[in-house]
Point group: C3
Chain length 341, copies 3
């Protein structure tokens, strides 16, 4: 009975119903996080903690008589990491206009670099374990420069940008632009005031048969944020392979990735990355400091690797576990469950 109603009435609160005016979806994930970077006697955080997230997402939509679609997305999520729990307000909104293969978004945009196929892991978290484990597998994350590109923000207001996407016949193109606040001109003002540092980015991807190639580039007013990424991935039935490379304003990073489906419910994902050292002249100029303030992000040059295992429990739930060693010898192991609704 439930499925029949889902098919006929619209709007329920599941993720799988299209054309609803308001759609509620989301996921919960929780488990244990062992991180040898934590130590009760050093930073006051146990090496093993609960990691969790509950996401509740509202997608609103309307369609004009001429077939132009308008939509908006709003999200609230609560998290716990390193034994610190946070409640949640709503984030910044993203607004969209769609017509056939075109989409224009304003506000809390996706971002062209963020949207590059072949950059995140083929897991439910898009990273390793239960909470992504720092996303060291992403070739755009190097040294102390993590997530220094425009991306949809779940916990904040995002970059207040504008972007255009086009998809047709296996091709996807994406350009995005944003400005960030210049606090010296406009003290006290949040994200996105004028006279600010701007980021412009472009992404193109093409899928032919089992293979997808993609490339993206970001030009930023902020030091060391220029970035070029390319990736090639193949989906070969049970197997998937992928290679990616990024030039992060002089720091090259290679990544090799594979995934393998075992039987009907199990899947293994593994990766290894190799990151170049920071150029000596850049270090002299201040690069390599912990500028972005992300804990544990000073991963430095060298190899990172990891392996993830997923088991589908049915009904939208799965067991997820993963281990990774970052290039700075930081080890994490996580295991838990993930369910979507």
């Amino acid at each position: 009975m439930k499925k029949v109603l889902f098919a006929t009435t619209a709007l329920i609160a599941t993720a799988s119903v299209a054309a609803a005016d308001v759609r509620i979806s989301g996921y919960g994930r929780f488990g244990l996080d062992y991180n040898d970077g934590n130590d009760s006697n050093v930073n006051g955080v146990s090496s093993t903690t609960i990691t969790s997230r509950l996401r509740l997402q509202f997608d609103m939509s309307a369609e004009t008589d001429s077939g132009v679609g308008f939509d908006a997305r709003f999200r609230a999520q609560a998290e716990s990491r390193d034994n610190v729990a946070n409640g949640a307000g709503f984030n910044g909104a993203r607004f969209g206009v769609t017509y056939q293969g075109f989409r224009v978004n304003v506000g809390n945009i996706i971002g062209a670099v963020e949207n590059t196929p072949g950059t995140y892991l083929e897991t439910r978290t898009a990273g390793l374990g239960i909470d992504g484990a720092g996303f060291v597998s992403h070739v755009g994350n190097v040294s102390n420069e993590y997530f220094n590109w425009d991306a949809y923000s779940s916990g904040g207001t995002g970059v207040n940008g504008v972007e255009a996407l086009y998809s047709a016949n296996g091709f996807t193109g994406h350009i995005s632009y944003s400005q960030r606040n210049d606090s010296t001109v406009n003290p006290g003002v949040g994200n996105g005031a004028a006279n600010a540092a701007a980021r412009a980015a472009i992404m193109m991807a093409y899928t032919f048969g089992d293979w997808t190639v993609a490339g993206s580039y970001q030009d930023s007013d902020i030091a060391w944020e220029d970035k070029a990424i390319i990736s090639v991935q193949g989906d070969l039935g049970q197997f998937g392979v992928r290679v990616a490379y990024a030039d992060n304003d002089g720091i090259g990073k290679w990544g090799l990735y594979g995934n393998y489906e075992i039987g009907a419910a199990s899947k293994i994902v593994a990766f290894v990355t190799s990151e170049d050292a920071v150029d000596a002249a850049d270090v002299t100029a201040g690069r390599g400091d912990n500028r972005d303030g992300i804990a544990g992000s000073n991963l430095g040059e060298g190899e990172s690797y990891g392996i993830h295992y997923s088991y589908d429990l049915g009904g939208g739930a799965s067991f997820e576990t993963g281990y990774r060693r970052a290039s700075n010898d930081n080890d994490t192991f996580q295991a838990g469950v993930y369910f979507s609704f």
Copy 2:
């Protein structure tokens, strides 16, 4: 049908249906705002910025066996203005009790002056353009005193007041009362503590045929908030005309308004207002300073005018655009889309 669905599954749906236990509705609007009061080199904000809002509203209701209704309203909205984006929490709640033509509200009340017919523009935003463009057309907004009456707050907790409304046979009566915090008595306490400045207001409106006349009055403990408003409006088929006048504690403001429906989808709204100068004795006493802190609110005496055009796109979406010149020569032009769900 409704009861069957209640018994078999949980679902949600859309805006236009009454008697639901929880109703989710709202709107999105976004577009470009040209404001000659902004200048990158002066206040650090570009003269043209994205203006947007996403509103998500929850209306809860229950009805007793004797026909008394209880309801409550809760709202979360994210905005971007002047290139500053804000996420959103829920606002203060409004609770209501209804019986036949009577309604009593407590909490984040509507407010009797706010509810006066014939004071806001006949547009989807109730003002000009995409975000109201400062609502200079309202006869209650003068000099530096904008929105100095009790009104439902979408972004805050509101005034924590109480109000009673009665409607029957074209007549509507509305009285409201609230107290605001006196920070000298109760430092650190938010809205609505006792020993506070109080506002009392009354509104009456009567509709006969195509015409509605309305009047309201606010008596406030706060200087320069006493206020009397009258309006007359006529809905003459394709045409609508309206005149309004307010005595804002000595500052008179006239407004003349017209709207015209062109064909099935287009509508034009235009207005002109004329505001008296602040009395010299009042200026000596401190009136006319930017007391309320609203940017650009120091509009001063003289004429304001504006024109708005709306085109219905179907499916709850429309194109909205408008230009207005305020009495302080501030020009704004806005264009964008608005969709409800």
Copy 3:
């Protein structure tokens, strides 16, 4: 089909539907609170104020093929007390795993002591009047130590704990554990950091026929939080009787409770409690100060009593009123309405 249903059903999400993926429920309650502890001329708060709460709750769930259930709970509520209104963000999330009679929760847990049957009043608020009136009837609330046990937090992130529950054949067992932040080790970090004060608790209850006996114990690293509670309650048709006792780390508190249903819609609940004085040695050691900062919590030794009357209005709504005198001679009287959705 969609449009037809939109026109006839719309929007549901009621409390009474099981097996939904996302369930929206909640309640509104509002009324008047007379509290002789407030005085406009003393603390700036009128002795009579509006007390209100609007709760909106989201329950998410999924079930695996093997019958293991996963769920999560998220809540936002706005309140007004003592004439101060607050808007609301979402609280901390609670995640659960269920299988037959077992449940394991992590995050914003229920808490074993909180979950002890026979400790809260048999009213819709679980306390007296419209907002609980300080919950002086609870035997675990003594002196200045109110709610010093782990409990689900509606307004904050909760204790970020873990707990296990088992129910079968009238038996319920519950163990919970949490750590709270040690701000000296981890300054600036919120709830739940390591090297922190821990609470462990256990609860067991058994129902045989009309009677339920229950006992719980909390062991805490924080001074004066060790706590043992026992209760016996009987549901004898129209009548209910209950007795409870707690040893609150040396402060004993007895409670005797009764409830009586009059006809089809009316119910009366009454209680009396007797609390021991704080031991002189403990007072010397600092006990009895207003350590927890809860206004009006310095209730001291002696008797508290109260009476509550409820009238069912149908449709999920009821009229609720209650008077209580706390052992410190503080009187409160409240009356208002409560409706759930």
